[in-house]
């Protein structure tokens, strides 16, 4: 993965930039000692690293605006950062950039139950948003697996999803407003506690813009009353394609589960060895969760089990208690950790139409043989968001490149069957250069003019999302 070479003009004025930033922030909020900037040299896409010029940790919107005004005047690129859990390299620095971390912006500003909203500063972690309201019976619905660590800022930038988004939607469906600072320091409020936007839906545009249009400092989020209960059923199959057909039948039958998760044999065996969840010996399994009162849950689980029974399952295991539910989820929840124990892996997240599942899984099987790398599949089957995990050896020369080439083939396959490159992790640097397989030159241009409006100098997170060749003429120093 190429990154643009640092701008020599910026590198030459490093001392002055740091000095100016120190003049508007507390001393401990400007980090420039190389030993300390190392903490910011990568996100969760750890294969790529680069220490930034410096990192700043403002504590409020005015400080963010002051930082951005200086960087705008000095023409220094800025990379916003939440918790650094991006899997796409969204928060990867360049040597000539200032990392703007929002970790100190972590307060709850307002909780309002009658109107079912919470207003938080953007550095607050996803799970702690729910934490702030759950004693009163509410929760914040989007639940990425990284929710203990990831920040609302990153969730908004990536439009993150979670296991329960089949029912509750992703970040954009639960975001009502933001306070955002533009690259030139202008502070704007978009949306608010009311339910729809007045003019053009700029809020919808900001969500998922990967830190390229502005720095979000506050967010108004929709909170929901907690359901009475939730329980899953585990359904085991001998065949991936049959599992896929079962998913479509469940959806067609009019049940709307909160989650439908899929795991293939490699994932099942690896997690069994790791977490001993007691999964059956099978080639594919589904975990389908529904919500409601006990009786409502039983009714829906019975319906799902009846549908599944028509697909010749190896086993149907309906949870009857919180304990049984936890065991069913245990394996799925440890899947990534379990694979991480046996190998380095790269996690893709292309989405496909659910109907293409059998075809895509069998094509991935063929690619496995062609590349000689193993792939585990664990994903959100209800919405077609795949998570193929390609296993490789980081210490073996050439293996990462092989893995990336195979990943690119899988993602192109997702696009070719009618899907897309990324369902929830974002483009970042990882999928940047594949964008031309999904979009025409005109399609990409239509997106880039949006950045021209919000950030005419292309200083905010400039080397992400768009193929470097496409954005070359716009980028600072390009």
């Amino acid at each position: 993965m190429d990154m643009p070479s640092p701008d020599a003009r910026v590198m030459a004025k490093k001392a002055r930039v740091i000095e100016r930033l120190q003049s508007v922030l507390p001393t401990d909020a400007v980090i420039h000692d190389p030993a300390e900037t190392r903490a910011y040299e990568c996100d969760a896409l750890t294969a790529y690293r680069c220490p930034p010029l410096c990192a700043v940790l403002p504590s409020n919107t005015d400080e963010v605006a002051a930082v951005l005004r200086i960087c705008h005047e000095e023409e220094v690129p800025v990379v916003p950062r939440g918790s650094g859990t991006s899997l796409a390299g969204g928060a990867l620095p360049t040597a000539d950039c200032v990392i703007l971390g929002v970790a100190r912006l972590n307060a709850v500003l307002e909780t309002d139950y009658p109107n079912r909203i919470i207003r938080v500063q953007s550095g607050r972690t996803n799970l702690s948003v729910t934490g702030a309201v759950e004693e009163d019976g509410f929760f914040y619905a989007p639940d990425p697996s990284s929710q203990l660590a990831c920040a609302i800022a990153g969730n908004i930038a990536m439009n993150s999803g979670g296991a329960h988004c089949l029912k509750y939607g992703v970040t954009t469906n639960n975001l009502l407003g933001v306070k955002m600072v533009q690259m030139d320091g202008t502070i704007v409020d978009l949306g608010g506690a009311h339910m729809d936007a007045p003019g053009l839906d700029l809020l919808g545009l900001i969500c998922g813009s990967e830190g390229q249009l502005g720095v979000v400092t506050e967010a108004t989020l929709r909170i929901l009353p907690k359901p009475e209960g939730a329980r899953p059923v585990l359904i085991a199959f001998d065949d991936n394609a049959v599992a896929g057909a079962c998913v479509a039948d469940i959806i067609k039958a009019g049940v709307l589960p909160v989650a439908i998760e899929f795991m293939d044999r490699l994932c099942i065996e690896t997690t069994e060895a790791f977490a001993q969840a007691g999964y059956p010996d099978c080639n594919a399994l589904l975990i389908v969760e529904v919500e409601g009162s006990d009786a409502e849950i039983d009714h829906q689980l019975d319906l799902i089990s009846t549908i599944a029974a028509r697909h010749d399952p190896v086993e149907i295991r309906q949870s009857r208690s919180a304990e049984e539910s936890a065991r069913i989820w245990l394996g799925r929840k440890s899947a990534f950790g379990a694979i991480g124990q046996i190998s380095d892996y790269m996690c893709l997240d292309g989405t496909i139409p659910v109907s293409a599942l059998p075809e895509v899984l069998s094509r991935i099987g063929e690619l496995t043989e062609q590349y000689g790398l193993r792939v585990g599949n664990v994903f959100h089957a209800g919405d077609g968001n795949m998570h193929p995990l390609i296993l490789y050896d980081a210490n073996k020369p050439g293996d990462l490149e092989l893995c990336e080439a195979m990943g690119a083939d899988i993602l192109r396959l997702c696009v070719n069957v009618g899907g897309c490159l990324t369902g929830e992790h974002g483009v970042g640097i990882e999928k940047r250069d594949l964008m031309t397989s999904q979009f025409s030159t005109e399609d990409l241009e239509a997106q880039m003019v949006v950045k021209d409006v919000f950030d005419p100098k292309w200083l905010l997170n400039p080397a992400k999302v768009f193929p470097l060749a496409s954005s070359q003429s716009r980028r600072h120093g390009g």
């Binding site: 202008t186 729809d196 700029l202 049940v255 659910v354 077609g384 369902g423 964008m435 399609d443």
Partner: protein, 364 residues
């Protein structure tokens, strides 16, 4: 002008050198636009429908009714319950799916499942230079590149001419029931709706009309019965509760969706969006001739006489007002935006439509 293919439409746009008024079925005449009419009604047909994937793709001129019929055959529906503006404007015509998206038309179920924009998965449109652009796609989860899909929803044809839309659909329900509380003052009604929407019983509609405060429950038969009882118990302190099932319940929500109580009223019709707890204050500041609360109080429809501009009366209550049906009121159709936001909106319109030919002045 009524092209029948996307290519022809793009050619028309490339060829014109005067302002264009984009029309679907012409059933939602919100705001005034001068210009030659370009109809999208010639682009029709469902291009793809996969019930098992909950997705449907259709040409922008396809009648909404056709799409609802196709979905009904598979026991599915457009869950955001798009409102039909014909009654409000007292006109006929055939609402199209493109017009629905361009106005982000969303009904009572918005409180539970989101608005039209939340169900829009992808668009194809012709931009101001006559180029065909696609964004989003036909899958439910997609964060590839910027979300121009949301931007197109509710853009009232000021950014491009939509030619194809792709939508998330949801299953029909087995049963529905509506609880009606009678005689509540606005503040009490909003409180009752907040209690209901804050309960775990999945209320899919919360509205107040002159007929009472209505709360809808939907789902499997037994589940609806259970939740009707649970919610009744919870709302006991608000007084007598009547329960309407099946067709009677459906009729209540059809009227709320289409703002039926204001069809016969005179005066300007405004649509106000605020946080629910501010609704009583808005109504008392404005004292409309007639009104209807939807979305638990978050959406207020008002008939206001005498051509009054209601925006100053909202004082510092956060939210916005759109003049949907203008009789005598002066002033802009859309709520003026703060300068910094207006600069962004204008900037986008200029990039998408550099010649300023699409519905010029409608939103600005």
């Amino acid at each position: 002008m009524q092209p029948t293919t996307e290519q022809d439409l793009a050619e028309v746009v490339r060829g014109v050198d005067e302002p264009i008024r984009i029309v679907g079925g012409g059933t939602r005449p919100i705001g005034e636009v001068d210009g030659v009419a370009l109809s999208v009604a010639g682009l029709t047909g469902v291009t793809l429908y996969e019930p098992g994937a909950l997705t449907l793709v259709a040409q922008a001129g396809t009648p909404v009714a056709d799409i609802e019929a196709v979905l009904a055959a598979e026991n599915q529906r457009l869950a955001f319950e798009p409102l039909d503006h014909r009654g409000l404007f007292g006109r006929g015509g055939t609402p199209t799916i493109g017009g629905m998206v361009a106005t982000n038309a969303s009904g009572p179920r918005r409180v539970a499942v989101g608005a039209c924009r939340d169900h829009l998965l992808g668009v194809r449109y012709v931009d101001g230079a006559g180029q065909v652009i696609k964004n989003g796609g036909r899958v439910m989860k997609n964060v590839t590149g910027y979300d121009l899909v949301k931007l197109m929803a509710g853009s009232f044809g000021t950014l491009g001419v939509m030619t194809e839309v792709s939508l998330k659909v949801l299953p029909q329900v087995e049963a529905e029931a509506t609880l009606v509380l009678v005689g509540l003052a606005t503040a009490q009604a909003v409180e009752a709706m907040s209690v209901a929407l804050g309960s775990p019983y999945e209320v899919t509609g919360a509205a107040q009309t002159s007929g009472g405060t209505a709360l809808r429950l939907e789902g499997f038969d037994a589940s609806v019965t259970y939740r009707v009882d649970a919610l009744k118990a919870m709302l006991g302190k608000f007084g007598e509760i009547a329960v309407h099932e099946g067709a009677a319940s459906t009729a209540i929500w059809r009227d709320v969706r289409d703002v039926a109580p204001l069809h016969k009223t005179k005066g300007d019709v405004w649509r106000v969006s605020v946080k629910p707890s501010d609704a009583p204050q808005v109504i008392s500041n404005i004292s409309p001739a007639a009104h209807l609360l939807d979305w638990g109080g978050g959406l207020i429809w008002m008939a206001v006489d005498g051509g009054r501009d209601i925006r100053p009366l909202m004082q510092d209550i956060p939210g916005h007002a759109t003049l949907i049906r203008r009789e005598t009121a002066t002033g802009p159709t859309f709520h003026p935006e703060p300068a910094a936001v207006a600069a962004l909106s204008d900037g986008l319109r200029h990039k998408f439509d550099p010649r300023g030919i699409f519905n010029p002045g409608l939103m600005a």
